[in-house]
């Protein structure tokens, strides 16, 4: 058998799976978003109608969709910088020559990343319990009144953000550590000879050298945070007062609770478009920053 023939044999199974169960549905999703596919069409495809961009128009007029979008943006805009800051701080601490027991600390700080999100959300719900939770107890010790974390529309999203930061910072921490190790040591030696302070080293050497890593981490984290779903599903069921309904949660309800697959597909595509636009924006802004 020739090499090209063998090669096609090697790639065929994976391509078939990816093509049939991913790429084909993606294209179909585009088509589905232009139909009024609902529970009647689910029973009989004859009930399907082409409606053009009606789903999109209706979504953009739906206050609930805008609320879901606003909640998700809140989660992304506060959660992503906070996550990256904690990741970077932890990576700097672990990278320091002064740090002891590095393998232990690294493993411990990474543990939440592999923990199942549903289980973690269940733990968090107990931890932030208004009456019996450890968080309110600790706050009480320093004289802060109990906060109704998951029952107050103002506090539910911040609680979910804290959970996300706690759960995810280890991932980017490991990436930052690899980035820090790649910075040539001579740069720091030169700075030390010049008597540069720790802070000046951070601002003038470490952060600029980490630039590409920061950009990549920023883009991947942003894209990931737009996918918020399990946390509100388990902790708040979108409440209170729908203050934690994310776009994906909205899509799930639209699609798999009410079986409006046309509208749900439109939600999925709008979210995709938004993530794509934000990624493009980040790339552009960083490009300008680098050339300036």
């Amino acid at each position: 058998m020739s090499i090209p023939a063998a090669a096609w044999g090697f790639v065929a199974p994976a391509l078939a799976v990816i093509g049939v169960f991913f790429l084909l549905p993606v294209v179909a999703g585009l088509g589905l978003s232009l139909t009024d596919f609902d529970i009647y069409a689910l029973a009989d495809f004859a009930n399907l109608r082409f409606v053009g961009i009606e789903n999109y128009v209706r979504l953009l007029q739906a206050p609930l969709f805008w609320q879901a979008l606003g909640n998700t943006l809140y989660f992304v805009v506060v959660g992503v910088p906070l996550s990256i800051a904690v990741s970077l701080g932890a990576a700097l601490l672990l990278h320091s020559r002064l740090a002891r027991f590095k393998p232990f600390f690294r493993t411990a700080l990474f543990a939440p990343v592999v923990a199942t999100i549903v289980a973690v959300a269940v733990i968090w719900r107990y931890l932030f319990h208004t009456r019996y939770g450890m968080v309110n107890h600790a706050l009480g010790a320093i004289g802060v009144d109990p906060v109704d974390w998951l029952g107050d529309p103002h506090w539910a999203m911040p609680t979910i953000i804290l959970l996300a930061v706690w759960k995810n910072f280890g991932y980017n921490m490991v990436i930052f550590m690899a980035g820090l190790q790649a910075i040539p040591g001579e740069l720091y030696e030169a700075a030390r000879i010049d008597g540069a302070s720790w802070w000046r080293e951070l601002v003038h050497i470490t952060l600029p050298m980490l630039g590409p890593t920061l950009l990549m981490v920023g883009i991947l984290t942003t894209a990931g945070y737009f996918q918020l779903f399990a946390e509100p599903y388990v902790m708040t069921q979108g409440g209170p007062l729908r203050s934690t309904v994310s776009v994906l949660y909205f899509m799930y309800e639209e699609g798999f609770k009410w079986w409006n697959f046309g509208a749900a597909s439109a939600v999925a595509l709008l979210l995709f478009g938004l993530v794509f636009a934000v990624t493009w924006l980040l790339l552009r802004l960083s490009g300008r920053g680098a050339s300036a």
Binding site: F10, A14, L98, F110, I117, V118, Y126, W166
Partner: protein, 273 residues
Amino acid sequence: MTPRLATVFVNGSLIGLTAVTLFPLLWMLSVSFMPAGAASALPPPLFPETPTLANYRELFVHAGMVRWLMNSLLLAGAVTACSLAFNTMAGYAFAKLKFAGRERLFRMLIGALVIPGQVAMMPLFLLLKHLGLVNTYGGVIVPAMAGIFGVYLVRQYARTIPDELLEAARMDGAGEFRIFLTVVVPLLRPVLASLAVFTFLACWNDFMWPLIVLTDNELQTLPVALASLSREHVQDSELMMAGSVITVLPVLVLFLALQKYYIEGLLLGSVKG
């Protein structure tokens, strides 16, 4: 800052951060051994006064935890085995076997990486329903039998295999599949270990798709079952913590045992090549 003070600061911060990171997990473990109602007390108890296995007994004997545990093991195992085979073959071919249109095809796949899974979810559900796979194990396994990220990861690593090795094997008259099995797979072992841990953990922890496609209580995975249990048992903190322990412990142990591969895979996959 004096060096001594700096050392105290760095290590003190690390200890504090680690304490905050581990506390929820440790408290979960502790509360899971408390008798029903003991955790709803003031001040919140740190340790069980009278440790008991009653919550675990309740979950395994009455709630059907054994079944969910088996479902999770079976699904994660099947997906890992299958996708490992398909992704490895494809990744190797993309890296080392020349064929017309290879680069273009690979670039297309990489381009498709940016498309989030939910765009495909509704049509995929209809497709699987048509195939009779909704509410069966196949509904989770079949769409996950190969993945772009896995192909990419294997390709990155396989590119380091020297061509001379493959040529030498061809000179000896070995067929391509034989070369793959006897020469390539042994060389790929580290990346295969990474991919296996990655896939297993991702599949075990996955929530949204199993929630959608497995509606039978009997077929559910641990995270899905835990989520619905926690909606029923809002006040039973001790029981829920035991359920969380059972869900999290297998993946934490697996990670601790194979973290070298996990971290290496993470870095290989995130450094764009």
